[in-house]
């Protein structure tokens, strides 16, 4: 049971770190492809 709980905690922690890294590396399409002349 302890292994299972630790596994769930580790999965959430790794996923959270991955989420932060991904969000800093990629932008949503409406931001990535907007220009001063084009607003998406």
């Amino acid at each position: 049971m302890k292994s299972f709980v630790l596994a769930c905690v580790a999965a959430v922690a790794i996923a959270a770190v991955a989420g932060v890294v991904l969000n800093s590396a990629q932008k949503p399409a409406d931001q990535a492809f907007s220009t001063t002349g084009v607003r998406l």
Partner: protein, 340 residues
């Protein structure tokens, strides 16, 4: 005099014509000489050629993403048909087919019982780190499977039930979970590969195990080392299938970093098909690890198994463990205090 004037008009006229031609010549030189622009724009054969496999019809756009200038890409229609029709059939047949097989198998064969009964003596089957890696990978896989099946089946099955707004909200969070939990899943697959590779190399014992039905069909108990033939199949499905869905998934998560549109479509096809087959295979694994076999869940739940269970299902492994730790070692693992 009149004749002189006529000659002068002719000379001036010729000069003017020559002047006009001289001025007009550079302009005409800028036009494509081989075909009229208007005719080229509607030439049917060119369009048909462009719509052949691998072709496309596109223009120019002023926004940074130049891929948006693509107007018609015939291969996209094949891909759309694949993920709207073919993939759903593959997923439905594999997942529902496996569920039907498992239910039928349970009704016909029933649970694989421990025929010699529980001895009360326990032996360590998986240590704490192995169980940690297994459960991290497994819990991530379950969420990845549900959120992945939502992408394929959610629109026709779930959206009519819960409505478009709820489906949109749920799908957005499911996609976040799918993307982010892919990382602990991929780490888990790598750890599983490294952790258990030594015990999962196929050998002659596995062939014999398979020939004798693996102890699942009938009441035979073919000997096996730590991992039997069926478990080795699951191991390689996890390693190869996990690598395939991870690589194809990251190609989709980082679109156009590595591949073009054809590569993206291929990655989606691989991800969808392998993912559906992966879910079906894991349903079989979950079945035999829980209700399908008496005493099996404790191996990954508590880390220990009954000695009689080991004797019936992994006799060669039990012999190795007994030779390594001594015959009384197993008695040091009482049921009430599983090793963590």
């Amino acid at each position: 005099m009149a004749r002189l004037l006529a000659q002068a008009r002719f000379i001036i006229g010729a000069f003017v014509v020559a002047l006009i031609l001289a001025v007009a010549a550079p302009v005409s030189a800028q036009q494509p000489s081989h075909v009229s622009p208007n005719a080229a724009a509607v030439k049917e054969q060119q369009l048909l050629n462009a719509l052949s496999p691998g072709g496309s019809v596109g223009g120019r756009v002023s926004i940074p993403d130049q891929k948006s200038g693509n107007l018609i890409h015939p291969a996209g229609r094949d891909w759309t048909r694949f993920h709207e029709v073919t993939l759903r059939w593959i997923g439905a047949i594999s997942v529902l087919g496996m569920l039907i097989v498992l239910v039928a198998f349970y009704l016909i064969r029933g649970q694989v019982k421990l025929e010699s009964g529980f001895s009360g003596r326990r032996i360590v089957r998986f240590n704490a780190f192995e169980r940690f890696v297994h459960w991290m990978t497994a819990t991530c896989f379950i969420i990845l499977a549900i959120s992945g099946l939502n992408i394929t089946f959610g629109k026709p099955l779930l959206m009519p039930l819960i409505g478009e707004p709820a489906f949109a909200g749920w799908s957005q969070w499911a996609k976040y979970a799918h993307n982010y939990l892919s990382f602990p899943f991929a780490i888990g697959v790598v750890l599983i590969f490294l952790m258990w590779i030594a015990g999962n190399i196929p050998n002659k014992v596995d062939v014999e195990w398979l020939k004798r039905g693996g102890g699942i069909v009938g009441h035979d108990h073919p000997p096996a080392y730590r991992f039997n033939g069926g478990q080795k199949m699951i191991y390689w499905i996890v390693v190869i299938g996990g690598a395939a869905v991870a690589i194809s998934g990251y190609l989709l998560m980082f679109p156009f970093y590595v591949t073009g549109i054809e590569g993206q479509q291929l990655a989606q096809v691989v991800h969808g098909v392998i993912g559906a087959l992966f879910v079906a295979a894991m349903l079989g694994h979950i079945y035999i690890g829980t209700i399908g076999m008496e005493g099996a869940f404790e191996a990954m739940g508590e880390g220990t198994v009954d000695v009689n269970w080991a004797k019936e299902h992994h006799a060669l492994w039990l012999e190795q463990e007994m030779a390594r730790t001594g015959p009384n070692e197993s008695q040091r693992q009482p049921m009430a205090t599983p090793a963590e």
